[in-house]
């Protein structure tokens, strides 16, 4: 697996080493290329500190971090040449227009003078702000500023995009727009690392995720890998939809190996098993008499709240 980010025992202590605040406590993280990696954790869990170290805004107390093959401390300029960052609580020069802001930032990104304006207009178009290119940023709504924030990330056409709490403070419509933009960028082959404290966002757009708490990574991997330990402990759930008014025979389902619970309510049957019986269940409902009454069979994903509680050592 080719990695975009790899950290090894990252520690960050604010203040003195012996008496300071430990924001990161030995973070080892692997972010695969071309995925959408969600960094989930509550406020103060160390997400922003970790991101700041990755782009060279902060120095780690110990440990190492490689971003796109470059050392985040020694080669931070090279890292920033290739990584686009949307920091939390970012801002723009309000007295300047969106285009002026982007042309200025493009100049710092090393884009040649004759390309800056063209590139700025391209990214404004990509985020749907081209018609507001010459409007002052002070006239922008929060959602528009957010889109402008994404535009500034795209200026240098980075291999890796890092978004720190990107949907905080924007309305649901703006958040949905953002998520579809992330999906589009990921389809174009970009690697995306996104921190969030909103669980549902992880489930909605991430291919991989890490749960961070108290400066430690509690669990990381692909979404399936995160589900598996939960399911192994709590069981696998499946939902069978039946035609309205049908009487579903449940006996054969109950006899399947490791099935612990079968509950029917109206046109829905929920099956819980101690192991993955998706294949067996599918074979069963494909046969008569089930075939005639079953409309769909879906494995049920656990909610992210349950997953989070599970990795916290809770319920």
């Amino acid at each position: 697996m080719s990695l975009a980010i790899e950290t090894e025992s990252l520690v960050k202590i604010y203040g003195k080493k012996d008496s300071g605040v430990k924001a990161l406590d030995g973070i080892s993280m692997k972010v695969p290329k071309a995925g959408v990696y969600g960094l989930f954790g509550p406020n103060g869990s160390g997400k922003t500190t970790l991101i700041s170290i990755l782009v060279g805004l902060l120095l780690p107390t110990s440990g190492s971090a490689k971003v796109l093959g470059f050392d985040a401390v020694k080669d931070s300029i090279e890292v920033r040449r290739r990584v686009g960052l949307l920091p939390e609580g970012f801002g723009f020069y309000d007295h300047m227009t969106a285009l002026e802001n982007l042309v200025f930032l493009a100049s710092l990104d090393g884009i040649p003078p004759d390309r800056r304006r063209v590139r700025a207009l391209e990214v404004l178009e990509a985020v749907g702000l081209k018609d507001r290119a010459n409007a002052k940023v002070s006239t922008f709504s929060r959602g528009m500023k957010q889109r402008l924030g994404i535009a500034q990330v795209l200026l240098k056409d980075p291999e890796l995009l890092i978004f720190d709490e990107p949907t905080v403070g924007i309305d649901p419509e703006g958040a949905a727009e953002f998520r579809s933009m992330v999906r589009r960028l990921n389809e174009e082959g970009k690697t995306i690392l996104m921190s969030t404290h909103l669980l549902y966002e992880v489930g909605m757009i991430c291919t991989h995720a890490a749960i961070i708490r108290g400066g430690r990574i509690m669990m990381q991997g692909s979404i399936e890998e995160l589900y598996r330990p939960f399911r192994d402990a709590k069981g696998y759930s499946y939902e069978i939809h039946v035609k309205p008014g049908s009487n579903m025979p449940l006996q054969e389902i109950r006899l399947l190996p490791e099935v612990s619970e079968v509950v029917q309510s109206n046109d829905k049957v929920v099956v819980v098993a101690k192991k993955d019986i998706g294949g067996d269940l599918f074979s069963l409902v494909s046969k008569s008499p089930y075939r005639e009454i079953v409309e769909s069979l879906t494995p049920l994903n656990p909610s992210w709240e349950d997953i989070y509680r599970f990795y916290q050592g809770g319920v």
Binding site: T49, V55, L57, I77, R80, F90, F104, L105, L108
Partner: protein, 315 residues
């Protein structure tokens, strides 16, 4: 260096289009022309002739400058770094492939240019208006004194810029930085001179009493002589006050600028006043220490700003 110049260019544009700068320039021109006009009007009412009217005009300008130059320096610097932090633009800037030094270098270069242009242009406009109003002739010596005054004033204003920039690197809120900058200016310009005299009089005790009139032979008021004890007392007060004020950049600026346009007044052995206009080389050689302090002061604060800003980590 290219990145520093890019930032300097943007900062320069921001500064010269800011209302803040034009307000200071307008106030400076208004005060300097008004004070020159008032002085000249006063002389005419009293029927006095001034030997070198150009120096009187410039002297008024210097007293206005002693207040406006620090304000200009503080106004340009108080939000230089803290404002970027507050707006969230610093993180956007630092996420580009640039060095932190580029940001502070760009700010300093642009400020130096703006301070230089503002003080030179304001001084020249003010002097030109006064010359036209009073129809005075200007000698080569006058021009050399005015040029030196402009250079010293630029350094003086830049000293306050450097001090305020240092404060701005320390704070995350511009309001704190502004209050601190203005507070230091008030302390140096108003509080310290009064406090230093007060300390001197407390240390030396009350002044010796003198007779109301002490006419010399011939009844000339102009040749009044003061008792030696009285002269000695006030010489000591002046020495102590001066010693205390050596911590003030305003004091060193006044020490070197005042002799350029005013008659040097010394007290003779018998307490008589000796007045003479010093030539420029004498002024510079006799106030070399003041000149050195005027130059070293901004250097110290620029170095301190560098150290704080480049070492401070931005989360």
């Amino acid at each position: 260096m290219v990145n520093a110049l890019l930032i300097a260019h943007k900062e320069f544009t921001d500064m010269i289009t800011s209302k803040r700068l034009w307000l200071i320039v307008g106030l400076f021109l208004l005060l300097s022309v008004a004070s020159t006009y008032a002085t000249s009007f006063g002389f005419r009412i009293a029927g006095l002739r001034v030997a070198r009217p150009m120096l009187t005009i410039a002297s008024n300008l210097s007293s206005t400058m002693s207040y406006m130059a620090p304000i200009l320096g503080v106004a340009l610097a108080f939000d230089a770094i803290s404002g970027e932090r507050e707006r969230g633009t610093l993180r956007i800037l630092l996420s580009r492939p640039i060095f932190r030094e580029d940001v502070i270098n760009g700010k300093i270069i642009s400020a130096l240019v703006v301070i230089g242009l503002t003080i030179t242009a304001s001084s020249l406009v003010s002097i030109s208006v006064s010359i036209l109003l009073h129809n005075v002739t200007v000698s080569v010596d006058d021009i050399s004194r005015i040029c030196l005054f402009i250079v010293f004033s630029i350094v003086f204003s830049f000293a306050y810029y450097a001090l305020s920039l240092f404060i701005s690197t320390l704070f995350s809120r511009s309001s704190y930085s502004l209050i601190s900058g203005i507070g230091i200016w008030i302390f140096f310009a108003f509080i310290l001179p009064i406090a230093s005299s007060l300390v001197a009089t407390v240390l030396l005790g009350p002044p010796p009493t003198i007779p109301l009139f002490n006419r010399t032979q011939g009844g000339q008021f102009g040749n009044m002589s003061l008792p030696e004890s009285y002269v000695s007392y006030y010489r000591k007060v002046s020495e102590i006050s001066s010693a205390i004020q050596t911590v003030s950049i305003n004091h060193h600026y006044s020490q070197i600028v005042n002799p350029l346009f005013g008659a040097a007044i010394s007290i003779g052995p018998a307490g008589s006043r000796v007045e003479r206009t010093l030539d420029v080389p004498t002024i510079i050689s006799s106030h070399a220490i003041d000149l050195i302090v005027l130059i070293i002061f901004p250097i110290i604060f620029l170095v301190a700003s560098y150290m704080v800003f480049t070492r401070r980590q931005e989360k």
